[in-house]
Amino acid sequence: MRLTSIVSTVLLVGSTALLVNTLRAQDGAATRQRMIDLGKQHKTADSLYLALKERARGGRRLTPTTMPDWSGVYTRARGGITFDPDQARGAPPTAKLTPEFQAKLTERIEMANKGIEWDPISTCSPPGHPRWLTEPFLRDFVVTPDQTYLINEMVNDIRRIYTDGRGHIDEADRVPLYNGDSIGFWDGDKLVIHTNQLRSGIYQRRNPDYTDQIETVEIWQKVQPGLIEVDVWVYDPPALVEPWYTRQSYAKVDDQEKTLRIRYWHCGENQNNAVAETDTGGTQFKQFTFDTPGAKK
């Protein structure tokens, strides 16, 4: 009798959990589709950004008493080192690519499967935005009334988001930058960002290339204590046949002892981290100190 009762309870709890997860998944899929559709309604990132700004009636200016609390140390919550956290394991990236960029991606993955892979950040070059969103290390997010600093531990990388009402750099003076030029506004507790003036790069290893025509729109929001989510739309006409929507998320890291530190990154600090691109496009370590008598660290 007791066993029957336990089994019934377990089954009930299990089926309820399954139902909740199914509903969550359905809700997540519907939200994702709405966001994809929103991106497709606008031909450019600028158009989407302006529409969001109009909907927010221009946004609000923060004051020291109305700033959201994003303090703490965060790290990427989902996605490993793929750009789209919702990309299934083993599946190709979810971007809809032009034939030229699809061919490049296919070749990159085929080469990596053969053990031939070179990552442009291997010698401490900045990942650049939007790849910046994907790196798996520690982050600080510093909100001030006129400017928000989005900081990634990797290569001491800081994005500066101007929310004081300024516009972008004049078109005639724009040059490609690793993290581009970012302006934004606050819609309630959501930070909406438009970034242009970016350099070409890759979204991640085994992920597509992007060009220097890429622009992004992001909506950052702390959705619950310890969790910040970011809706991201990427526009890049030469590479993407439609905007690539993804939802990124960052979780607060448990640091009750307050011992975590974001430290300086410098590839030259330790000779054992020195790598070089091989003739075939692969990666190889240079000389190690520990197997070479007399070599200096």
Binding site: I81, S122, C124, L138, V253, L260, N272, N273, Q284
Partner: protein, 136 residues
């Protein structure tokens, strides 16, 4: 009893496979890990020579003595200090002279270096650097 042992062995095999998969998928977030074997591991016993606590990668150097008394220094690469710290790995855990058994994915070119998959210290305590990427 035999069935239980079989199940335990199966679970142990699953854990090793999971460790390898995690190591292969997230290894070397800063540079490609293709210079290491992807599906092969080695295990060596030795004593810590030096713990290089550096960004972007840390290196645990371990002196391994073979049956003829020849000492080879092996280097085990892991992530940088903050990731290791999140995995409970600190410089004080691996002082020079500490006995340790290291499991890693070795270099394809035969040099004595590997990706650090698991360290088991002389006192039995285990250290898995990938735990530093876990999000609670």
């Amino acid at each position: 009893m035999t069935a239980l042992l079989r199940e335990l062995r199966f679970l142990r095999a699953l854990r090793v496979l999971a460790l390898l998969l995690i190591a292969a998928s997230s290894a070397a977030a800063h540079h490609s890990g293709t210079m290491f074997e992807q599906a092969k591991t080695i295990t060596v016993e030795g004593v810590v020579k030096e713990f290089q606590w550096t960004n972007p990668h840390s290196w645990l150097l371990v002196d391994v003595t073979d049956k003829n008394g020849k000492v080879t220094t092996w280097g085990f690469e892991a992530e940088g200090p903050s990731t290791l710290q999140r995995a409970g790995i600190r410089p004080s855990e691996f002082k020079p002279g500490t006995k340790v058994t290291m499991t890693g994915r070795p270099m394809k070119d035969g040099r004595p270096a590997a990706t650090w998959v698991l360290a088991v210290r002389g006192d039995g305590k285990k250290f898995d650097p990938r735990e530093g990427f876990q999000v609670k």
